[in-house]
Symmetry: C2
Subunit: 434 residues, 2 copies
């Protein structure tokens, strides 16, 4: 008789495996951090904890493939402005003043709480004082790909030294929740020499490289003026791109750019809500998928979105391209759910660990309560998760085999304190602004 | 000393009046169905019920200016199909079989519950067996503009006789919650003679006329082939358009169409999520607003959205046009909140009753609980309601001075029963489909 730590019963299970296996009324057994049973029948077993998932859909935890978790302190501090006005007069001066180790510790904890409450179980982060974010992940039990943002321009944004990020990588090189990465901000804000040093470090240590590419037309034109090439062509010309590259945004790509990204096996992250809100443009997601690229989704930071809800990103992605392509079949519910789960894991290079529910993978899963008016009736769970569900429908979250959120209550995290701490920071920010 | 039925204290109040008056810590007094006090200081008063709105934003109830409430039974029954496949092979055959008085009574009750739970206090409906929807509104306490859809083609969709809608109009001509309307489906599905009869009836009885106009390019081309004119030009040529016309969708308008709609003082409703999902296109909302048209928002029916959450419509509206116009200032949070409230009331011709919080207007208001991670910190409540909030953040709802929803619980409605009833219908639909 198997002895599980957790047994889940009575669930509609969307495994998101390569065959899109679905169980109408299935069972999941978890031992330590691993899924060791998945099936339509109850195994001969005992369990420390039995979870009755009646009226719930179970799916892999969502993967937020690009965010800036420390920016929750700036959520909604400035909106409806032109990008340059927003950056130069609000975000950069505020970051210069308020992005301290102490504040990032609070802000990223709030971000992690918000992400778990809306179904994210892994996030890929680009920010400063990453050590504090990693400590929050360990404390709360969140999985994350984390690296310290490195940048040459503007120098005022520089918050830590190169030593900081090297030490961070060493410290977390063998962690069960944290996957270290290297995070050059973008081709326009990092020098060629810096990018080449990063590439070498990535090759030597097999580290993912997380970088913004072709987010705005201004950026594309800047690189073209400097190099005569598009950002993708330029990065390829310095041998920067490979399967470890996590290329974020990719709003403005030429056919040749897409071809290069495909040849180099680069993983793509799109952040549609941020791209819309900042008027950056709309990435040609269906075209990228058709060309064979793996495309995932991220929320971007809470100052440009302004929340961290992956359900919104999936919902907007599947809908917006239908209208733009004048074809309601150009994307569908199953495809966009892959973007939010297994594609994210592939792009981050952790699909051996997470992104689908399969025996042998880490137990990273979410339960969505469908006994609600806006989710009733239910003909197709894939459709419901894409077109009807919200982050607030997430009921229970398990990460790395541990029950983190149960009936929307954190088992360990003191949410009241986190919200109070961030309010104190926002009071300081308001005082500084006025 | 004033004696209120309800006194609300400690609230951030967005009145959405013409001056966009905001109270950081205000008071609202309600007597019977009317707001009789609104201010920054506590009046000398007693109250039957005192609501402490600490940690809440109070705003006018949202106005869902276009939906088909009876279609909740078909929520998610068919997605990701071409429009004609969706209509011909799924929606129309299913409507033919399942749109009965008994089923619409259940389906519209579920819709009303979902709308109240996501902050809508008035909706404008186009469907069949409207009498049942009206009875649900009266039972639950919902405000609605209701009329029986009339249509010449396809005849199979016809569910009731003209007598039905005339009797409905007479019955509710003086109701405190129901505003009767006349609802010709569209210029392509109603004959010229029918449209002219409707116009006469509207003129004689001062009734709003709720009609789909220029939703798809196919529709525009059909009318052009028939008449040589765009749908708007055609309707104007038969003297159909005036300030009582509620023109829904308006995705494909020429400059001349916009000019005609402005001259005739027609109210506009856009349903962006449905327009995206059905690949109908994207209406030029900023252009319409700039031209002086009053533009409001509706969810459209739950089979083409697939929920009835007005927060999603506002959020997508403010963002999508920024990217399409390549200008992040082209729309803003305050403007889109007007679209979801006071503009809806203007378009439906009921802005003397609702749509803003002002002394003398009906007490239709919602409280949004902002003590949540994704709404923390808060620098600007308008931004939060537009970019961060979800329908599920609505905590308490008052309609026509009555407390309908308190801490997300209905005071009178048996939600479990409604969900069970709709599941039974969906079981029949599944059996019929398979």
């Amino acid at each position: 008789m198997i002895k599980f730590d957790i047994l889940i019963k009575n669930a509609v299970i969307l495994t998101m495996d390569s065959k899109m296996t679905l169980f109408d009324n299935g069972f999941i057994g978890i031992q330590n951090d691993i899924i060791t049973y998945l099936g339509a029948t109850k195994p001969n077993c005992s369990a420390e904890e039995i979870i009755d998932a009646e009226n719930n859909i179970i799916m892999p935890g969502l993967i937020n493939s690009h965010t800036h978790s420390g920016m929750t302190m700036f959520r909604g501090v400035a909106d409806d402005l032109s990008l340059m006005n927003w950056l130069n007069n609000y975000i950069w001066p505020l970051e210069d003043k308020f992005v301290t180790e102490k504040n990032v510790r609070i802000a990223s904890k709030l971000a992690i709480a918000e992400m778990i409450l809306s179904g994210t179980t892994t996030f890929n982060d680009m920010y400063f004082f990453t050590g504090t974010t990693a400590e929050n992940c360990k404390e709360i039990g969140m999985r994350a790909v984390l690296g310290e943002a490195v940048i040459d321009f503007p120098a005022s944004v520089k918050k830590t030294s190169e030593k900081y990020f090297i030490e961070f990588i060493e410290k977390y090189s063998n962690d069960d929740l944290i996957i270290p990465s290297i995070v050059p901000h973008s081709p326009y804000s990092c020098s060629k020499e810096l990018l080449q040093r990063i590439k070498l470090l990535s090759d030597e240590n097999n580290l993912p490289v997380h970088i913004h590419i072709s987010e705005t037309l201004d950026e594309v034109n800047l690189i073209k003026d400097r190099t005569g090439m598009t950002p993708v062509e330029y990065l390829d010309s310095i041998d920067f791109l490979n399967h470890r590259t996590i290329a974020v945004h990719c709003v403005h790509l030429t056919d040749n750019d897409i071809n290069i990204l495909k040849i180099r096996n680069v993983g793509i992250v799109n952040s549609p809500e941020s791209n819309l809100k900042l008027a950056s443009g709309i990435a040609e997601v269906p075209k990228m998928i058709k060309s064979g690229l793996t495309v995932s989704l991220g929320t971007d930071g809470p100052a440009s979105n302004n929340n961290l809800d992956m359900f919104e990103e999936m919902s907007i992605t599947v809908k917006i391209h239908k209208a733009l392509y004048n074809d309601s079949t150009v994307m569908n519910a199953r495809e966009v759910l892959k973007m939010g789960t297994i594609n994210g894991a592939k792009v981050l290079g952790i699909n051996n660990l997470t992104g689908s529910l399969e025996v042998g993978k880490k137990a990273d899963l979410i339960m969505i309560d469908v006994k609600k008016p806006h989710l009733t009736p239910m003909y197709d769970p894939y459709s419901h998760l894409t077109y009807c569900a919200k982050g607030s429908d997430v009921d229970t979250v398990i990460i790395n085999g541990k029950l983190i959120l149960k009936k929307r209550k954190f088992l360990k995290l003191d949410l009241e304190k986190v919200m109070l701490d961030i309010k104190n920071i926002s009071n300081e920010i308001n005082a500084y602004k006025n």
